[in-house]
């Protein structure tokens, strides 16, 4: 008990990372297990449990292995991608509200996918690379918007610019879909965001992008941490802030593009996950990103479980749920007297 109180009384930045990581990981694993046990398909919890241990009938096996397992794994990957890309973007913009979903990166990716499908592509394999390109274009827009307003100074302005881009791209996507009913059916989840109905093969196609983004993230984590001390300090320590910034945006585009390619645009997760991570372990970007690893999947898989339970027997799209929960959270953050700053 004594340990527990002293743990929470410590400044977040001084809490032992390993303990925080393990605590949240246990929750995440529990959530993933729950995601295999309930929802989607007429297999109840006890039946699911015995199926997991190799018993159970053909149908239960199919539901769990072909429906719920891919869905859970997709949630895991998407959660990590969105959490890390949000943390990276907030660090490089020195703006606590920066997030790929809010700033139009995800909308760029899904618009690119819609355009490709209308232009005749139907294979999901093509959609992956296209989504990355769309996300990259979104990232460049964010960089330009940030540059125009001079070094990302005002958090809310950047979000406004991102909101404008997001609505524009969403409107354009809707126009495209109006003219093409076939694409409209195929793309529905790319517009709303969902981890349901995905195959493991979808996951495999994004893995290379995901791996590159992860490698870049490892490489930039240390210089990025020093950039929190100011750009001149980072330069004095032998880092190159400009190169680091471009590498970070590339990683964000790859992560957000991958996540959007598999699950469609999911807003606010990239915002809330790093917030939660910082509340637990403080603002150091390396600690924040390590905590995003369990927190991101926890939020996505947790939210996905909710989508199966809220509107039974139908399912609510994941993107709709995160928007409904995330929008009020964002309003609370913006309304807070003192907007949290990143150094």
């Amino acid at each position: 008990m004594h340990f527990a109180t002293s743990f929470w009384q410590r400044a977040p930045s001084q809490r032992p990372l390993v303990v925080c990581f393990c605590l949240v990981s246990v929750l995440t694993i529990g959530c993933a297990l729950l995601s295999l046990l309930i929802g989607a398909g007429a297999v109840d919890i006890t039946e699911s449990w015995s199926t997991l241990w190799g018993q159970g009938n053909e149908e239960a096996h199919f539901v769990i292995m072909e429906l719920r397992l891919p869905r859970t794994l997709v949630g895991l990957v998407v959660g990590i991608a969105l959490g890390i890309s949000g943390a990276l973007m907030q660090a490089v913009a020195r703006n606590p509200l920066a997030e790929p979903g809010l700033l139009g990166v995800s909308a760029g990716a899904s618009f690119a996918v819609a355009a490709a499908l209308i232009l005749g592509a139907s294979a999901a394999t093509l959609a992956m690379g296209v989504a990355q390109l769309g996300a990259l274009a979104g990232c460049f827009f964010v960089m330009i918007a940030a540059r125009l307003q001079g070094q990302f100074k005002d958090p809310v302005r950047l979000v406004l610019a991102g909101a404008a881009l997001t609505s524009l791209l969403t409107a354009l996507t809707s126009i495209l879909l109006m003219y093409d009913q076939r694409a409209a059916d195929e793309i529905r989840f790319w517009v709303t965001g969902s981890v349901a109905g995905r195959h493991l093969s979808n996951l495999v196609t994004v893995l290379p992008y995901f791996a590159i983004a992860a490698a870049i993230t490892l490489y930039v984590s240390k210089p990025l941490a020093s950039m929190a001390l100011g750009e001149k300090v980072a330069l004095g320590l032998g880092h190159n802030p400009r190169t680091i910034r471009y590498l970070v945006m590339l990683a964000v585009a790859l992560f957000a593009g991958s996540a959007t390619a598999i699950a469609g645009p999911i807003m606010f997760v990239g915002l809330v996950v790093p917030f939660a991570a910082r509340a637990l372990v403080g603002p150091d970007i390396r600690r924040t990103m390590i905590m995003c690893l369990p927190i991101g999947p926890l939020m996505i898989i947790g939210a996905d479980i909710l989508t199966r339970m809220i509107a039974q027997p139908a399912e609510m799209p994941l993107g709709v749920l995160t928007a409904m929960v995330g929008a009020p959270v964002l309003m609370l953050i913006v309304r807070a007297k003192r907007l949290p700053t990143l150094a």
Binding site: K222, A225, L237, G282
Partner: protein, 285 residues
């Protein structure tokens, strides 16, 4: 020039511009090894721009900055960071960082993807804590320290960088008198231990007292350089700041002390004549 007398840092006709506005035009300057050099001058004289140029923050549009005789922009950034540390004027650290964590950043140039955290890093950090007189404060949060302690922690970060050269941009600008002395004393100790220190200082009296070598700038050019006694003369002060003053000698060090500072030509009967006189004095330079 033999390498033993070679200045560790100098410029070769560098031109520094802000957009299209030329701040410094073809400047040559060298900084003496193992000494504390203070760059002084009125607001907008280009002293901070020069320091930013020396530390690679500001890219020169022409000319070279020579670090041990080699062009600084032809060297890998990490190599430069092992020789030259920089403490900018405005610093900010993330909430909840401790003194020791801040100092750890100073080790970045000595680490790489394959050489992460080693024994030499640990020794360097403990040494920096000791040198900056912060041994007992290593685990304190930076925000809980006094201004002087905080600035010493930042300097300790650059000590941990283990560079022969240290550049400081107005290291005491936000500090009260006691904390200023605290920081300048530390800077003197570092110079006594063999570091070459180059700093921009706003306060001429402090510069005169704590620097070995002064470089006085105005309009992007060097008006005078040398020991404080050579540089701080009534004539040079008038040309720099447009002031008249009397000088006394510090009873302990002999360094010049400014007293009775007043605007040039303002003490006489005709105040209205002062601006044009001042302008003439400037033109005469």
């Amino acid at each position: 020039m033999s390498s033993s007398t070679q200045a560790p840092l100098g410029t070769q006709s560098i031109t520094l511009k802000h957009d299209d506005h030329v701040i410094i035009d073809g400047l040559d300057v060298t900084f003496p090894a193992g000494k504390v050099t203070a760059i002084v001058g009125p607001n907008g004289c280009g002293k901070s721009t020069l320091l930013n140029g020396l530390s690679r923050v500001h890219l020169p549009s022409s000319g070279h900055i020579l670090l041990n005789g080699k062009d600084i922009h032809s060297m890998p950034a990490k190599q430069v960071a092992k020789k030259l540390a920089l403490l900018p004027q405005e610093t900010s650290a993330p909430d909840g960082i401790t003194v020791r964590e801040l100092i750890r950043f100073g080790r970045h140039p000595h680490q790489s993807l394959f050489k992460q955290w080693g024994m030499d890093d640990r020794t360097a950090i403990e040494f920096a804590l000791q040198a900056a007189n912060l041994e007992s404060l290593g685990d304190r949060l930076l925000d809980t320290l006094s201004g002087g302690q905080r600035q010493r922690a930042w300097i300790a970060m650059s000590i941990a960088q283990e560079t022969p050269l240290l550049l400081l941009d107005e290291p005491t600008s936000a500090l009260d008198l006691g904390h200023q002395i605290e920081v300048f004393d530390l800077i003197r100790e570092l110079a006594a231990a063999g570091k070459t220190i180059i700093m921009v200082v706003h306060d001429l009296a402090m510069a005169a007292r704590y620097a070995d070598h002064l470089i006085a700038m105005k309009g992007g050019e060097i008006v005078a350089q040398g020991s404080p006694k050579q540089v701080i003369t009534p004539e040079i002060l008038e040309s720099l700041y447009g002031v008249h003053c009397d000088l006394l000698a510090d009873p302990h060090t002999g360094a010049p002390i400014l007293v009775n500072v007043r605007r040039a030509h303002d003490s006489g009967a005709s105040k209205a004549a002062a601006p044009s006189d001042k302008k003439q004095a400037e033109l005469a330079l």
